[in-house]
Amino acid sequence: MEDARYYDIRHVAGESTHVDCDNGVVESAGTSFYDVAVLRALGQKGWGVLTIDNYGERTEQEIRAYIKEALALASVTEEEVTLADAPSSILPMPSMKEDPSEVSLEEKCSLLGSIESAARMNGIKNTRARYSESVGTISFLDSSGNEYSYETGQSGYSVVAVAERNGLMQMGRESEHTILGFNLRNKEEKGREAGKRAIALLDAKPAKGGIMNAVLDQELAGVFAHEAVGHASEGDIVKEGASVLKGQIGQRIGSSAVSVVDDPTLPEFGFMPVDAEGVGVQRTEIIRDGILKAYLHNRQTLAAVGDGIAGHARAVGGDVPIVRMSNTFIENGDASMDELMDSVKNGILLKGSRGGQVDPGRGVFQFNAEYGYIIENGELAGMVRDVSLSGDILKTLHNIVLCGKDRKMNPGYCGKGGQSVPVSDGSPHLVLENAVVGGQNV
């Protein structure tokens, strides 16, 4: 049997801890253990991939046997995979203020419980808070002699309050996730915010759907950057012909107010010290002043597509590296909030996010705000609920006409190919003209 043209092994092992507080009860709390590796080998054509549970320590002889198994799998592949050369390097992990694994589970339960109970107030029927933490070691080695090992630690919480009045229910939600250390202390205010929002939404009117001018807050505009621009710029989607951004490098795809960046080096929730193929990470400008500049790549898609840099491969434990976003954002403009509101005059302010989805091949996206406010004569009028936004990527980017200067990043998780990875999205407040807003009343 021939040798592998290339192989790498990515081993992820550690502990995950969760706490679930539901209506004042510690529903569950505890720690579990994981240990899994993925070995990829390039045969004459494409990839053979072995997933090995409970990898632990393996001898060289065992690894050779695995490579042989992977090559046998690769023998059914047809695509001629080539890998672009990409510099390998690793950044130090941002330091943690307080290591979550050094805080006792008892204390985590009690701190989470106080956030949850802060959400409980008159008019609130149910509160629930959840904490999750994953602490572990990621080890990487490849046949080119690159070898890395680093510790990761993510932790975060969410708190949800459900308000009820005369059979009508509404929900308020707050969450925070971080790689910068334990984050459950002094967060009762977040619980109160979730509770107050749920109650306020009881009086909010259903949004009136239709086409209108909108101001998007930092969180929702960040989701827009992620869903509408980020996914369509992922090199694997471009390579496979399923992105409307294919063949658009150097073209104007948005108004000159729009610059979009993916930067895995920022110490935000999407930070990675090195990518999942051992490639050094760098900031990538996807759109500069409305012009498409680069795609996000791994080594394979860079070789196949070009226009961009590798270093955007990510993988969850036990899965293959694919092209992913990290910290994705729209850059600041220079408009003040008053200028944004004045420019809209009559429209809607959309706030918060319940997530979104995109079909990058069709260029269509959909996402949901948590709530919003009607804008009348440049002033905020009544609160509205259940407002969503959908549209066409290429049209919508031309409709972002004004960006504020208050960019903020929001942490979250992004799913693709069955893998959920930590990311952050961000943006300043911005104005989107002719937004397609969904609501109950047309």
């Binding site: 505890g30 579990s32 994981y34 059914v76 592949t77 086409i211 079909d359 959908s390």
Partner: protein
């Protein structure tokens, strides 16, 4: 054979060690072997194989429930200790014990001895999908074929030791024509999928959506495919049937037992004996049974696992499934059927949607949602007509289900749901 003996010995060891510190001990062991092959455009770019092993331990003492999991057999003691530690922190609740051994010998169809977990079989499935896709001029974006076999063993300190084996095959194909995308998939426990047909449909959806016309804002009669119906049910209605959400005050359906929530004649039930997720025992060893959530349009019951049932003074409905954090069971569905009188859904003119974009952003508490339609077209006389370029559907899942006007003649098996296409009259659409 020796592996099975090792496994039994491990389980007995854990039960013995666990019962020294806890009143009830439960062990859940899963093993799996799977292969997959992935198309990148129309060429296979990746072939994989995976062997998995997982252990979940749950301990209960004086109503305190603790759980942990690991995939390292050598760490079972750490895992047991973590479960015991977790139990100490949980708030005590009413607890009436784990189930005792019962008759679980009913024969169920979830295992196909002819299914080979072989990457060459996956290769052939992909090739056959590509043959089907050639019938329409679409480009292939990607595709996947996977085969798996696995076993589950559940044991507890009351003498339960149940095992079951299952096999599975799944295929999917993604296509594009210009900026029209298409996607089709299939899954089964048996080697009975029709990959040529899956390929043909994936290509058809992309090609048929080319040149879609805009649609004006307004209300339209709407037909949703089984895939689109599954999105709405799964994101909103199914969570509202969970006894935990009902008890906690997070379910819209909480106080509506006995009320009409679908039109007369329409039923929604979980049949644990027919379908891809069939099982005689749930993830806690409780015997499963048919559950009629909605019967003849009337809401009849909710789904409970043991802990939620004991907490709210009712009985487990055998609805525990695995997948909770730390290897703990949670409430779910086995094979959920939407059923009732069948008729043609697309005979009279209507707007048709094959899939939805963004259904997971629905408000799970209130049921309000807005989604983009995928592969939308007009339909009449049972035949797809002119494509529609883009349309947003806004509504409320709970009120929409009361407005069902017809269920299509055939049902489709989608993992844990078996659903027909559904016609809804007068739905609100936002065009461009």
């Amino acid at each position: 054979m020796s592996e099975i003996l090792d496994e039994e010995r491990l389980i007995e060891q854990i039960l013995r060690a666990g019962t020294k510190s806890a009143a009830d001990v439960e062990v859940f062991l899963s093993e799996g072997h799977s292969v997959n092959a992935e198309l990148k455009r129309d060429l296979i770019g990746e072939a994989g194989e995976s062997r998995s092993w997982g252990l979940g331990i749950r301990v209960i003492s004086e109503g305190r429930i603790g759980a942990s999991s690991t995939n390292d057999p050598a760490r079972w003691k750490d895992c047991l200790q973590a479960a015991l530690d977790a139990g100490k922190l949980a708030t005590p609740q009413e607890w009436g014990g784990l189930p005792e051994k019962a008759d679980v010998s009913r024969k169920l169809a979830t295992f196909d001895p002819s299914l080979e977990v072989d990457v060459h079989v996956a290769h052939d499935l992909l090739r056959e999908m590509l043959v089907g896709a050639e019938e329409h001029p679409a480009d292939i974006v990607g595709g996947s074929a996977g085969l798996s076999t696995g076993s589950l063993t559940l044991a507890n300190s009351n003498g339960v030791m149940y095992s079951r084996e299952g096999t599975g095959v799944g295929i999917s194909l993604e296509t594009i024509s210009g900026t029209s995308t298409g996607y089709e998939f299939g899954s089964s426990c048996f080697m009975d999928l029709d990959p040529v047909d899956v390929g043909r449909k994936a290509a058809f959806y992309a090609v048929h959506s080319v040149g879609g016309k805009e649609i004006a804002d307004g209300t339209y009669d709407l037909v949703l495919s089984p895939v689109a119906v599954a999105e709405l049910l799964g994101n909103v209605f199914v969570p509202a049937l969970s006894g935990r959400n009902v008890g906690a005050g997070r379910s819209f359906l909480a106080d509506r037992i006995g009320e009409e929530c679908m039109p007369p004649g329409v039923s929604l039930y979980d049949d644990p004996f027919h379908g891809q997720r069939s099982t005689n025992w749930d993830s806690e060893g409780v015997l499963t049974r048919r559950l009629d959530f909605v019967q003849d349009g009337i809401l009849k019951c909710f789904a409970y696992d043991l802990r939620t049932a004991y907490r709210y003074g009712t009985k487990s409905t055998g609805s525990a499934v695995r997948g909770g954090p730390g290897g703990a069971p949670s409430i779910g569905m086995h094979n959920l059927y939407l059923d009732g009188p069948r008729s043609e859904t697309g005979e009279e003119p209507a707007l048709y949607a094959h899939d939805l974009v963004g259904a997971h952003t629905a408000n799970p508490v209130t049921g309000d949602f807005s989604v983009e339609l995928s592969n939308a077209s007009w339909i009449e006389g049972g035949n797809p007509g002119e494509p529609v370029r883009s349309a947003m559907l806004s509504g409320n899942v709970f009120s929409m289900l009361r407005e069902i006007s017809a269920l299509g003649p055939e049902s489709r098996s989608l993992g844990s749901m078996v659903l027909p296409s559904v016609r809804f009259n007068s739905q609100q659409i936002i065009g461009k």
